[in-house]
């Protein structure tokens, strides 16, 4: 059921997102663990962290905040980064993006 929700979010932003299997093989450069914070904490953590990686690098944001799985894809689009997809792990989300 969760996968359906996440796929809906991906479709909502009309993105060519990756499968969960593909996401799991990504060479992640930076992991932002924002599971301890509520909105807007994860977004701010992502904003700060993206400044520390190079274009082409892949970053994942860990968040237990429901709003973040909508916020980060939208933020990526506006900022010109590439949202790659989201994996629902028990109790939190892994949100993947590539810096442009």
């Amino acid at each position: 059921m969760m996968d359906v929700g996440i796929n809906f979010i991906n479709l909502l932003f009309k993105m060519e997102y990756m499968t969960q299997e593909e996401l799991l093989t990504l060479p992640v450069t930076k992991t932002v663990d924002a599971r301890g914070t509520a909105c807007p904490g994860p977004l701010l953590e992502a904003k700060k962290a993206v400044g520390t990686i190079k274009p082409g690098d892949i970053m994942e944001v860990l968040s237990a905040d429901e709003g973040t799985k909508v916020d980060i894809p939208k933020w990526c689009t506006k900022q010109g980064h590439e949202y790659l997809g989201t994996i629902d792990v028990s109790g939190y989300f892994r949100i993947f993006m590539k810096k442009r």
Binding site: A38, P40, G41, L43
Partner: protein
């Protein structure tokens, strides 16, 4: 590309609305917006150095009877205080905080040093009006 500008007229000095302002500000700086905050009447009191982050000295704009519950929920959810939001946002994007001179005087604070250190300057209403005309987005809180 030129950054979008957000102008906030921050009239409220209540802890709930200041927290909302901090959350909105966070979203704006995540989008690289340049933000000018004009602190007006009630807001200027909250920016006084001896008040700022002290919730005992701030009221709630709505549901005043639930202030303790509200503050406890923020703490449980690890939500920053309004001053912490403002301070962090100033490190991420261009955020300028201007205190209305008259508002400061009303609350017994006339010099920049009378306010918490996130305030950038003291200004008149003309500066606020000019900023509203130049902004892409205007909010009044």
């Amino acid at each position: 590309m030129e950054k979008k500008k957000l102008c906030i007229g921050l009239y409220s000095g209540s802890v709930d609305k200041l927290t909302a302002a901090g959350i909105i500000l966070s979203g704006a700086v995540a989008d690289d917006m340049h933000v000018d905050i004009y602190v007006l009447l009630q807001g200027a009191r909250a920016f006084r150095k001896d008040i700022g982050d002290n919730p005992d000295k701030l009221q709630m704009a709505e549901n005043p009877a639930m202030k303790a519950e509200f503050l406890q929920s923020l703490k449980t959810l690890k939500v920053k205080t309004w001053v912490e939001f403002f301070r962090e946002c100033k490190t991420i994007s261009e955020v300028k905080i201007h205190i209305c001179g008259l508002a400061g005087k009303i609350w017994g604070a006339e010099k920049l040093d009378d306010f918490i250190d996130i305030a950038d300057d003291i200004c008149g209403i003309g500066a606020y009006i000019t900023a509203t005309q130049e902004a892409d987005v205007n909010l009044f809180i």
